[in-house]
């Protein structure tokens, strides 16, 4: 569903991505791992059209992403759950969720209600706290809210940028297992993570980034056993 070829991205004068090839196939959970500064966030921002490429192509469902504005890409089903969650702290949980679907043109009011009920079934904690200001949620709940908001947009591909950031290891495990079950239900997920072992355990396929290049790629089970993975982090 996503195909990236020889992608180069610069921010200011510094070259962040230096020729990335990457494929996300339908129904897979693909992990993109690497130490900080490797270029993971830059890559995901380029995928969702927030950064433009200096060279190379990105195709989403066969169409180049730079032909569409980021908000139209999102409506078309390429949904980005940004790093740091970016929920609207002053709105309630339910209002945050509705932001997700309000902008999707082909969602009617009644199906929106259905979507909302579906999300509440998926995340009972959000149902209990639906009238609470989102800023009052714990970090883990906020991350769930951010993911749930993304799901309200009926994504074809859900891209998550470091959902584990600042969360306790146990909460991270819960979120990763939940992502796995979304994939079992047919969703396609691109997961950007620093915590490689955790991410690889739930992923089908993985790419390891370092210094703006893909240095390892393959089925996650193979990568998990590869000592080069550890080396890519700690030198």
């Amino acid at each position: 569903m996503i195909q990236v070829r020889n992608l180069h991205v610069e921010i200011g004068r510094s070259r962040i991505l230096k020729g990335i090839d990457l494929d996300v196939r339908s129904g897979q959970l693909v992990a993109l791992v690497g130490a900080n500064g490797a270029g993971k966030t830059t890559l995901i921002r380029a995928l969702s059209g927030l950064l433009s490429a200096r060279a190379g192509t990105i195709l989403f469902c066969g169409a180049p992403v730079d032909a569409k504005a980021p908000h139209l890409l999102a409506r078309a089903g390429l949904v980005h759950v940004p790093q740091g969650r970016r929920i609207i702290a002053d709105l309630t949980v339910e209002e945050n969720l509705l932001i997700g679907s309000n902008q999707i043109p082909h969602v009617s009011a009644s199906s929106r209600k259905g979507l909302l009920d579906g999300e509440y079934r998926r995340f009972p904690a959000l149902w209990e706290r639906r009238r609470v200001i989102a800023g009052a949620l714990s970090g883990g709940e906020q991350q769930m809210l951010a993911i749930s908001r993304g799901l309200m947009m009926l994504p074809k591909v859900l891209m998550l940028d470091e959902p584990s950031l600042g969360l306790a290891p146990r909460v991270v495990e819960t979120i990763l297992r939940m992502l796995r079950s979304l994939v079992e239900d047919g969703l396609t997920v691109l997961l950007v993570e620093q915590a490689a072992y955790s991410a690889l355990r739930v992923a089908d396929h993985a790419y390891v980034l370092r210094g703006g290049r893909v240095i390892l790629a393959g089925p996650s089970a193979v990568l998990l056993a590869d000592p080069a993975l550890l080396q890519s982090y700690l030198g």
Binding site: Y197, Y233, L234
Partner: protein, 593 residues
């Protein structure tokens, strides 16, 4: 920083000659009166130019200082018959005190809040002038204010012009000195980033208040002349229009430039006369003018002239002595007074919380003198928070920080900088309005007595030659002397990082904090930084660095401290850290069991 035309004092001699002959060349009293208007406007605008153009603080309340001084001298001279040589200083003191108060307000309120606060001050002054009739006479005003004519009625306008012309020259000297000397560099750096200014040892709040007082005194000086021009003063003169016209003058003239306020004042006065017949449209025309200048000529009319082109660095460069790369004159050597291997920085139980999040949790560490000590950890581990706590940009909630056997836990950032903690920034802090050389000069310690410094500036030529040579030597030490005259934005990214290092070294630091020194650099540039840090270590400087590039960290560091979730999880040599299971878990997650 000597000007294009020789020494500053020559400029003022020429300026004085122009002032002296202007009334004799003027065909009639009307033109002399225009000259007076220009001078009144330019003096007030010079103050606003320093405030807004250099330090980046906005004021819409300059009319308040203007009115205070005007009423002060009018009332004291007309009602209490004080002589003008007493009422003028009194008026300046009153305006300065009001400036002090507003300057303190400005420490709390920034940007648009400051605009609102100063606007309120201006409004209050205007309303008091209008309504406190027993004191000000309201719109009926105070008549019978002595004219400033040195006792000669017929030559009055000329004498007034000469007097205010002298005041304008003094203002220009103060303004030029502020812009061209060390203080200009400091104020520009405060405008760019206060936290940066603090890390080169600048007491930023003091400077901000100081420049507010200066701008208020200049607004007051302009206001003090006002009632003595016509012998009458009423509240009609003190509407917000006056604040706004000062703003128009400095923006149209060119913010932060040396002659912008003069050019702007001439322009605004002449334009005002030219459209006097279109009174109803005046605001419309001035508004449109402001908009046009901001759109098409954002640096003002002054940027069109050659007068304010880059200040002579090009010519100065030839005079700078070139030294070979990698060698540093002994006068610039960092203070290496600590026995290598002795602890120079001790953190004990340091905790930092932000709004319920514990960013740094009970971290203790020892940094030994003469070592490169890396601070690593996954995203959000608390590295930046910890380095900010060490630099003093934020304070620890618990625990203590001992630097060079002093407890600096509560010392402010600029004090720590003066004790020998220098730093570089992840997102470079180089001052765009200054040349590369001047950026490095910001780091040099101040050695001169103020008066001698001022006189050397006035004399021109060798002004700051020594500092320039030193800054150049520091650039050469890192092999980038050829960039001295350029603006930092014109340099490749990697070399900008070296400029920051040169500036940090200029502070003759004991300890240098490096925040992601190779982030965003290519391999070649990163190698240059590695060499630079090694040469700093060879000079005896201790370095604490935060960096993500593990190759860089492992090859360069003597010791590594690892943070995760704000806690220290490991501490050791690069070899030990590579093998440490808790470090592996922190970075990669827990391996499958």
């Amino acid at each position: 920083m000597s000007a294009n035309f020789a020494a500053p004092w020559i400029r003022y001699v020429i300026f004085a000659l122009v002032v002296a002959v202007f009334p004799t060349l003027a065909p009639n009293a009307y033109v002399i009166n225009l000259g007076q208007e220009v001078a009144i406007l330019a003096i007030g605008a010079a103050g606003l130019n320093l405030l807004l153009g250099l330090s980046g603080q906005i004021s819409l309340g300059q009319v308040g200082f203007f009115a205070l001084a005007a009423y002060c001298t009018a009332i004291l001279s007309a009602r209490l018959s004080w002589p003008l040589w007493l009422t003028f200083p009194a008026a300046l003191v009153v305006a300065g005190l009001a400036g002090l108060v507003m300057g303190l307000v400005a420490l709390r309120a920034r940007t648009h809040f400051l605009a609102m606060a100063t606007l309120a001050f201006g409004l209050i002054a205007a309303i008091l002038a209008q309504r406190w009739i027993s004191l000000t006479g309201g719109s009926m005003g105070i008549a019978g204010v002595p004219l400033l004519n040195w006792g000669q009625f017929r030559a009055g306008p000329t004498n007034f012009f000469w007097t205010i012309g002298a005041a304008l020259i003094l203002t220009q000297i103060v303004s030029d000195f502020t812009i061209e000397s060390r203080s200009g560099r400091i104020l520009r750096s405060i405008k760019e980033s206060e936290s940066f200014a603090a890390t080169v040892g600048v007491n930023a709040p003091l400077w901000r208040v100081g420049v507010f007082v200066l701008s208020a005194v200049l607004a007051g000086l302009s206001g003090a002349f006002f009632p003595h021009q016509s012998g009458f003063v009423s509240s009609d003169a003190f509407t917000l229009d006056r604040s706004l016209s000062l703003l128009i003058v400095v923006i149209v003239g060119g913010l932060g430039s040396r002659y912008g306020h003069l050019i702007g004042a001439v322009f605004v006065v002449l334009l005002g006369e030219a459209i006097a017949g279109l009174y109803e449209y005046a605001n419309f025309i001035f508004g449109g003018l402001l908009l046009a200048v901001m759109l098409f000529l954002p640096r003002g009319i002054a940027s069109l002239t050659t007068i304010v082109r880059r200040r002579g660095e090009g010519s100065a460069e030839g005079r700078l002595e070139s030294r070979s790369r990698g060698r540093l004159p002994s006068t610039l050597a960092p203070i290496a007074d600590w026995e290598p291997g002795e602890p120079i920085l001790l953190l004990d139980g340091v905790t930092k919380r932000y709004a319920g999040v514990t960013a740094v949790n009970d971290v203790s560490m020892v940094v030994k003198s003469g070592t490169v000590h890396a601070l690593i950890g996954p995203n959000g581990a608390g590295k930046s928070s910890l380095i900010n706590v060490i630099a003093g940009l934020t304070y620890a909630d618990r625990g203590s920080i001992i630097f060079a056997e002093r407890d600096v836990t509560r010392a402010s950032a600029y004090r720590r900088a003066r004790l020998g903690i220098a730093r570089t920034f992840q997102n470079l802090q180089l001052i765009g309005g200054l040349s590369v050389l001047e950026n490095v000069m910001l780091g040099l310690p101040r050695r001169d007595k103020a008066v001698a410094y001022f006189l050397r500036w006035l004399g021109g030529r060798s002004f700051e030659a020594e500092q320039r040579n030193q800054a150049f030597a520091l650039l050469e030490f890192f092999g980038i002397g050829r960039y001295a005259a350029l603006s930092p934005d014109e340099l490749p990214y990697g070399h900008r990082k070296l400029v920051e290092l040169a500036r940090a070294l200029a502070q003759q630091p004991r300890l240098i904090l490096l925040d992601e020194p190779v982030a965003g650099l290519n391999e070649e540039e990163a190698v240059e930084i590695v060499q630079a840090v090694r040469s700093l270590r060879a000079l005896g400087v201790t370095a604490v660095l935060v960096e993500h590039d593990m190759g860089f960290v492992m090859s360069l560091s003597d010791r590594i401290t690892v943070l995760d979730y704000g806690r220290k999880i490991a501490d050791g040599s690069p070899e030990e850290i590579r093998r440490d299971q808790s470090v592996i878990n922190a970075y990669l997650g827990v391996p499958a069991s």
